[in-house]
Symmetry: C2
Subunit: 148 residues, 2 copies
DNA sequence: GCTTGACCTCAAGTGGACTTGAATTCGTAG
DNA sequence: CTACGAATTCAAGTCCACTTGAGGTCAAGC
């Protein structure tokens, strides 16, 4: 049998079943049918979920992604949109790299206050410029975390 | 007069006044006093806000930051914690860089489906590994954005 | 001295992304 | 054939980071 049940998909992707059901309701994935009540997924759902994960890390909202998938079979994902997203991501990366350097420096800098350190000053300026909202914090993934 | 009123701070940081009041309530910033009802901020609040912005982009939650500031004057921000954060950020950056390459490639790739392209396949694998939760989407900053 | 408009407070609302819980239905092992 | 555990639905709840709105205050300009 090449069908995967929800637990199997959860196991292979690390996403909790609740999330998979949620994604299905949002139109991000589809099940091929049911075995009794139970959803059965085709193996391609794994690829699709990887794509969702990818899109999310690139900053797409779930609704954006659902849109891309719905229209995306034929009308092709807008190349300009992709390029724009890549550029935006590039700016984000540069900023994060600066932040990373600042953190590393701060973790070893002997200055009494980071605020007095010229390196840190520069970091602050970089971090403040073209900020991107990177909402909440990273959280424990895998197996139904207690909260959030 | 070296005091800044909330509008001035808002102007200089790009953060809406509501956010500044919110941050004050959270203990992320403090006003030096009032002029009548109005908060007056010292110029150092700008630096502090830059630090908050920085922390947020590094993935700290507001509460974490408030914690750092509270205890942070003396006990020194934990160096190990900073280093760990830097490492985490580094992984995030690598992943994002891979995603960026994938997006760029996808925006020019003539393949009928990105999924058939080996480059894209690789990207999917990279993006799927060590995922970090990067919640909602980037949003327009500056001057009281309509939503979110 | 009165108006005006920026600022104030406090409670409630919003949006995104999920999670949780109660009540129910099955497939399968014994 | 029955009991059990895993899946199901659907509504409601949670978290975070803010925003909005109603109702009130006050400093400054005319």
């Amino acid at each position: 049998m090449k069908w995967l049940d929800i637990a199997e998909v959860a196991r292979r992707t690390g996403l909790p079943p609740s999330t998979l059901r949620f994604y299905e309701a949002k139109g991000l994935i589809t099940s091929v049918g049911r075995h009794g009540l139970r959803r059965m997924f085709g193996p391609d759902v794994l690829e699709r979920l990887a794509l969702v994960t990818l899109g999310r890390s690139a900053g797409f909202a779930l609704d954006d992604l659902a849109g891309l998938f719905k229209s995306g079979g034929k009308p092709r994902i807008d190349r300009e949109q992709l390029a724009a997203k890549a550029d935006e991501l590039d700016r984000t990366i540069r900023r994060l790299a600066a932040v990373r350097e600042g953190l590393r420096h701060a973790s070893t800098c002997p200055a009494p206050s980071h605020l007095e350190c010229p390196r840190f000053q520069r970091l602050l300026r970089v971090a403040t410029a073209n900020q991107v909202r990177h909402p909440t914090k990273a959280s424990p993934r895998r197996k139904t975390p207690p909260r959030q």
